[in-house]
Amino acid sequence: DAMVIQNPRYQVTQFGKPVTLSCSQTLNHNVMYWYQQKSSQAPKLLFHYYDKDFNNEADTPDNFQSRRPNTSFCFLDIRSPGLGDAAMYLCATSSTRELLNSPLHFGNGTRLTVT
């Protein structure tokens, strides 16, 4: 009964080789988020979609892109992964941007290794 599903759970890519992580949701939530979480650190917001409206964080590198073809799916594209991009990538959803009554639902993440 998973509601936010991330595939794959583990991804290995080579330095500089583009990689795509995927997230799907069965909650029909309007908002989808991508967070980066490095070892022993807090999740850091990269960007989010409010419906089709893309919102990038000011400090998110250009190397990171996202696509949301429909309500259910959202993708994280890393165009040229560096060693410093190795991390857990978390997808989350909420029904609205007003989180007071719609807290984030997280997937179990994709752990990215860059060799």
Partner: protein, 112 residues
């Protein structure tokens, strides 16, 4: 920049004891606070939340306390169990914008 931080990175308690996890925040405009639990290899899981117009909220075995005067948030877990072992994050959010800012995290270990 403004951030949410935690006082202690690790906390070890005996099974059955009560646990208290603390969080300091610096954004006085934040109106809503959330505690998340993250087990190894999993995404953060919502535990409990509190609005800024409250100073205490109770759930099942958990209580969140908010002290806006000193910008302090705490999570109390009663009768801590081995299944409570995880990393706990506090997070803050403004009503407008929907950006959730996470604190550093505290790793809770429960000894049998």
């Amino acid at each position: 920049g403004e951030s949410v931080g935690l006082h202690l990175p690790t906390l070890s308690v005996q099974e059955g004891d009560n646990s208290i996890i603390n969080c300091a925040y610096s954004n006085s405009a934040s109106d809503y606070f959330i505690w998340y639990k993250q087990e190894s290899g999993k995404g953060p899981q919502f535990i409990i939340d509190i609005r800024s117009n409250m100073d205490k909220r109770q759930g099942q075995r958990v209580t969140v306390l908010l002290n806006k005067t000193v910008k302090h948030l705490s999570l109390q877990i009663a009768a801590t169990q081995p299944g409570d072992s995880a990393v706990y994050f506090c997070a803050e959010n403004k009503y407008q914008g929907g950006k959730l800012i996470f604190g550093q995290g505290t790793e809770l270990s429960v000894k049998p």
